[in-house]
């Protein structure tokens, strides 16, 4: 079984997760998660629905408080920070939400300008210029600034979400299923934008995805998680941690099954009876 960890960079990792345990009610979603993410890396976090990928992503930024364990960002445990310190750290992250999570009471322009208005004292003319630039970078025309999120297509909303996440030039960009629900062309557009963002800005990226094409294309490291409820007691929740191109060599059949998108015995395990 391959659990080859990539050799850590010489530099101190930007994000470290130690012994993370997250429980909701009595249900364990994440257990004994340990991760070390060097600066500049693009990490793809894959795994089936409900395995805790998004929970892990939200734990990194303090949107979900872990039951136990620590998340160290740039040398500081984020769960021990006060409100002001937490705000300072959070603006070093850009979060691209699954459904963009644009504020529907605001226009697109106001959405993208929101972080600038909150955290800078830039004059309106400069804010407007930055907003136009960010929208152009993700391939959106200036005319969208006056529109409301409901007037845009799913792909356009995702691109606005990306523009908003990048507006403060963050150190880390977190992508939560950036290509889910998009057509293949738009999915590849988003993949290209993730790659271009990395080449233009020195960002560390974590991409939560089900889409193997996205994971293979954008990431230089891939981690596969498995639902805690389906694991035996001593098994680690991270089944694979390595280069995306080596994933097919993994000896764990659950990893191969996911990567190839095969149902295997799962349908029998679920007790589905259509066709019997």
């Amino acid at each position: 079984m391959m659990h080859a960890r990539l050799e850590a960079d010489d530099a101190q990792p930007l994000i470290e997760v130690n012994d993370l345990l997250v429980q909701f009610g009595g249900q364990t979603v994440l257990r004994d998660i340990g991760l070390s993410i060097p600066r500049g890396q693009t990490l793809a976090l894959i795994g089936e629905s409900g395995c805790g990928k998004t929970v892990l992503l939200k734990s990194l930024i303090g949107l979900i408080q872990p039951t136990q364990g620590e998340v160290i960002f740039d040398g500081r445990d984020i769960n021990t920070l006060n409100d002001k310190q937490m705000t300072q750290e959070r603006i070093r992250f850009g979060f691209v939400f699954q459904n963009a999570a644009l504020f529907d009471s605001m226009t697109i322009g106001q959405n993208v300008a929101f972080p600038l208005k909150q955290h800078t004292n830039k004059p309106l003319s400069e804010i407007r210029e930055i907003v136009f630039n960010r929208l152009r970078e993700v391939g959106l025309p200036e005319s969208v600034v006056w529109k409301k999120p409901a007037e845009l297509s799913g792909g356009m909303r995702k691109r606005v979400g990306l523009a908003r996440a990048l507006v403060l030039k963050p150190d880390v960009v977190l992508y939560d299923e950036p290509t889910t629900g998009l057509d293949p062309i738009m999915s590849d557009v988003i993949n290209e934008l993730i790659l271009r963002t990395r080449s233009k800005y020195p960002v560390t990226s974590i991409v939560v995805t089900h889409d193997m094409r996205t994971a293979q294309k954008v990431a230089d490291r891939m981690i596969m998680m498995y639902p805690a409820t389906r694991l035996k007691e001593a098994e680690p929740q991270i089944l694979y941690d390595g280069r995306p191109e080596d994933v097919e060599d993994c000896s764990d059949q659950r990893v191969i099954q996911f990567v190839r998108g095969e149902a295997g015995q799962r349908i029998e395990e679920m007790g589905a009876f259509i066709g019997d």
């Binding site: 303090g62 949107l63 705000t87 979060f95 939400f97 999570a101 504020f103 972080p115 955290h119």
Partner: protein, 300 residues
């Protein structure tokens, strides 16, 4: 065959009381567990709401939200609620006139109608009905809006961008309710006065001079103060309960619907409870401050 069944029947008779006792015990345990669950839920909800209110108070006095954040809430609560509050006030004034007229006429006190209508309005019906209308119109909308923001991860997005959602979303709504509900109550009182006057003087034909004189004699500043004082508490509780319901809304359309309904129901119940408590308190204060000035509408 009969002899074969007799011992079994005896066994059944012996086991029956035991199994009945076990069933009774089980029912008792279930009953206790159900009520225990309800009690735990109540304590948890009250605790959550108290913490939510405390965080809101800290943020309210810590840093005032920006003007562009405050104005939409003030517009929604104040301007948009004005017509419905005015309409409610007008009809309540007229209904009070209809209800009271025949009873007061029996006693020959129809000129005191102005006193009873306006006293009821400024002390009780104006503030309570304005608050009820706001709980229905604004409270439910607040819960549904914040609930949708929670479900669509907009609250998470706010947090991830370093904005505190209590400061950004809750404080403007609470301030709008606290500051504007007294103004809306004044509107309800005034329109109630107009409605009552219209029905009593124009429709029924009660003498205008006596109607206004009695209104002026019996309704004092203290009564108006009591109504407005209570309204501030109503506004605060509507905003806090509604925002709390939206803020901790459960997933899906059903969660948002439940939050909107719960916001109105809990706000309304809290309005009634606070009304009772404040009425008792204010009466005591009045009797302490002015022990010799109790007035009676039926008196000379």
């Amino acid at each position: 065959m009969v002899s074969g069944t007799v011992p079994n029947s005896n066994d059944d008779q012996q086991h029956e009381p035991e199994s009945a006792l076990a069933a009774l015990q089980l029912a008792m345990f279930n009953w206790l567990a159900d009520w225990g669950g309800v009690a735990i839920d109540c304590v948890t909800s009250i605790g959550e709401l108290t913490l939510f209110a405390w965080r809101t108070i800290l943020w309210t006095f810590g840093r005032l939200p920006k003007r562009e954040t405050l104005l939409p809430s003030f517009y929604q609560v104040g301007v948009m609620s004005l017509p419905v509050v005015a309409l409610t006030g007008t009809f309540i004034g007229m209904v009070l006139a209809v209800q009271s007229y025949y009873q007061f006429r029996e006693l020959g006190l129809e000129t005191r109608l102005g006193a009873v209508i306006n006293m009821s309005l400024v002390r009780e019906l104006g503030p309570v009905l304005a608050a009820t209308m706001l709980a229905g119109r604004v409270g439910s909308a607040m819960a549904a809006e914040l609930g949708t923001m929670r479900v669509t991860e907009q609250i998470d997005a706010l947090t991830s961008m370093g904005a505190n959602p209590i400061h950004y979303l809750v404080v403007p709504r609470v301030l709008a309710m606290l500051l504007l509900i007294p103004a809306l109550t004044v509107m309800a009182d005034f329109m109630g006065f107009v409605g009552g006057y219209f029905y009593s003087v124009i429709i029924i034909g009660i003498d205008k001079h006596f109607y206004l004189y009695n209104s002026q004699i019996f309704v004092g500043s203290w009564d108006i103060f009591c109504g407005l004082f209570k309204s501030i508490f109503f506004g605060g509780v509507i905003a806090l309960v509604s925002c709390h319901q939206g803020f901790y809304c459960t997933a899906g359309a059903e969660g948002v619907g439940k939050a909107a309904t719960a916001a109105f129901v809990y706000s309304f119940v809290m309005i009634l409870i606070i009304d009772l408590v404040l009425n008792i308190g204010l009466e005591r204060v009045y009797m302490t401050l002015w022990p010799d000035q109790m007035v009676s509408i039926g008196g000379g």
